[in-house]
Amino acid sequence: MDFFTAMEVIASGLSAQRTRMNLVSENLANAQTTQTPEGGPYRRKDPIFQSAPLAVPFDEVLAGSAADAVQTVEVTGVVEDTDPPRLVHDPGHPHADANGYVAMPNVHVVEETVNLLMAARAYEAGVTALGSVKAMAERAISIGS
């Protein structure tokens, strides 16, 4: 347990938020995609986060000092939103069904923008925490001088 531990934990959080940012970008990019390789319109995706204990060196486990091991975050999977697709009447569209309705992705651009902001803010918070950890380490080094 040292300053580097905090950095590892923050790094996992930054990775998780970057994954989320990637998925939000994907959702926004595919907001009008009516056909996917799997068939049907694009469905919006969400990352699933799960906490996981930080990998600690074996000697720390033996010494018992790993008991207060902190939890990092990891992305365990990506789920598709099960909301039904939005139906838009557009008989001329090549992907329209027999009644002339086109199934549009269940992506709401406003919602995705909010997710984007949340991911960006969470990332910023992680970077700020990292800066604080670095400042603390530097203060600790300058003790007594």
């Binding site: 300053f3 580097f4 950095m7 923050i10 790094a11 930054l14 990775s15 970057r18 970077v127 990292l130 670095k134 380490a137 530097e138 080094i141 300058s142 007594g144 001088s145």
Partner: protein
């Protein structure tokens, strides 16, 4: 009459003659460990910078964090080294 008659040594003057205490992990070992930590974190940071510069997939913040770790390890090493040199000079200035 000896004017210094009343003056007696307050402590026995004999210097300890026994064997010197067995040398455990000394300061040089600590310093060496610090140097090794600084060198390995620096090597890691260098490898990550290389990977980033050559476009290998990876997290940008991991690179930045590696560089920060290397910086902190090096600062700690320099701080300990400065403290060591300071105390050495202090000893050298000591009047005999």
């Amino acid at each position: 009459m000896n004017p210094l008659y009343g003056v007696r040594p307050v402590l026995p003057q004999a210097l300890p003659t026994g064997p010197r205490p067995a040398s455990g992990p000394g300061f040089s070992d600590t310093l060496r460990a610090l140097v090794e930590t600084a060198a390995s974190t620096d090597a890691q940071a260098g490898a990550r910078i290389d990977r980033f510069a050559t476009g290998a997939p990876g997290e940008l913040h991991e690179t930045a964090i590696s560089v920060t770790k290397a910086e902190i390890a090096f600062r700690l090493l320099m701080s300990v080294r400065n403290r060591l040199l300071e105390s050495y000079r202090e000893v050298m200035r000591m009047g005999m």
